[in-house]
Symmetry: C3
Subunit: 148 residues, 3 copies
């Protein structure tokens, strides 16, 4: 990076941006499933694709939506906590382990959601992804608690 020359921060950015791209991918998949299943959330979209009868819900579209919303609930806070944590001066090795666990578990979470893998695969992926997040949150809180 031109401005920020910080190895931990750059490592964080790498996995964070990949996860954002993963979220974009789920949005694209949702759109494709809507077209294939002819299930549109808006009447104006249904009208363009055959008629108002396609203004309807579809179970697999709803599954994609849930996967996306769960990503927002977890990946978006990670974009914040991971960035702040990177600035607290952790060792690169320890930080990379945090980011990598979160990254791999969230990719597994998406696969488990979209392919409806047997429970509790998805829940375990969610839970293990939260461990580095809670760890980072605690470390950041300890670093700034004096400023509360």
């Amino acid at each position: 990076m031109a401005v920020i020359r910080n190895e931990v921060f750059s490592c964080f950015v790498f996995y964070a941006v990949l996860l954002v791209v993963k979220m974009y991918t789920i949005a694209i998949i949702t759109g494709q499933v809507r077209l294939r299943k002819k299930a549109f959330a808006n009447p104006e979209d249904a009208l363009r694709h055959g008629g108002l009868q396609f203004h309807r819900e579809d179970p697999y579209v709803e599954r994609c939506r849930r996967a996306h919303i769960n990503d927002m609930e977890n990946i978006l806070p990670f974009l914040f906590i991971g960035a702040i944590y990177s600035l607290t001066g952790p060792s690169l090795t320890v930080a990379r382990i945090h980011f990598l666990i979160f990254f791999l578990c969230r990719v597994l979470h998406s696969f488990a959601y979209l392919f409806a893998l047997r429970a509790p695969t998805r829940s375990l992926a969610y839970t293990f992804a939260q461990i580095p997040c809670v760890s980072m949150a605690v470390q950041v809180l300890m670093a700034v608690a004096a400023y509360a």
Copy 2:
């Protein structure tokens, strides 16, 4: 800015904060529509505004909700990717084009959603807004790939 004196970053912040204000506006519109249509998501709100029969869904409230959730799916990741991209040292002109395309397309997206403009206006606004995001994501990934 007092701390960060970076033209590209300041340019990004300008459009990013305007988009956050735009999201706040959709929340206010949703609340006003709920009051006018008497359609409340919570029984305690319905009770205060005439009775439990108003604890119900309304198609236009749901449309506002979808506009808001789509904003969260797209504008919130932009707040991250745009900030990081600004720190990779792009030219101000190129960066401003990225931010401006995203900003204008997301404003159009909100108009298309709230006024139910004919398809595919809203989808096109979404798609064109994603182009600068993917461009920024690729540039950031190339800048930090060595630190993965």
Copy 3:
């Protein structure tokens, strides 16, 4: 903090991370309510916990979901606006008041939502939490308007 030695920013980070932990807590509560009420959003989860008849909605689970989504709509933009505002060089006292009002109102909002407190407690908590956000947005916009 090792890298960023900025009192206002550290104060912001303290409250911001606490609010992220608060959001994580709502996710955990939602999961526990799903288990207790046997109301699962996914058939694979229902199958693991007794059968497909538990693939169903529950009013209190939906209430938790709404609390969580409202947090995303408000706390996630705060993570951005608060960070940028901290970098514009405000006085520590004024900044802390902004963060503290937002923090306390959002905690009250969650209590009002989860315990279904009488209206308009929740709406007032939401509205008062937005005041420091709009104040910060205006101050940031004034600081960077020259770079638009």
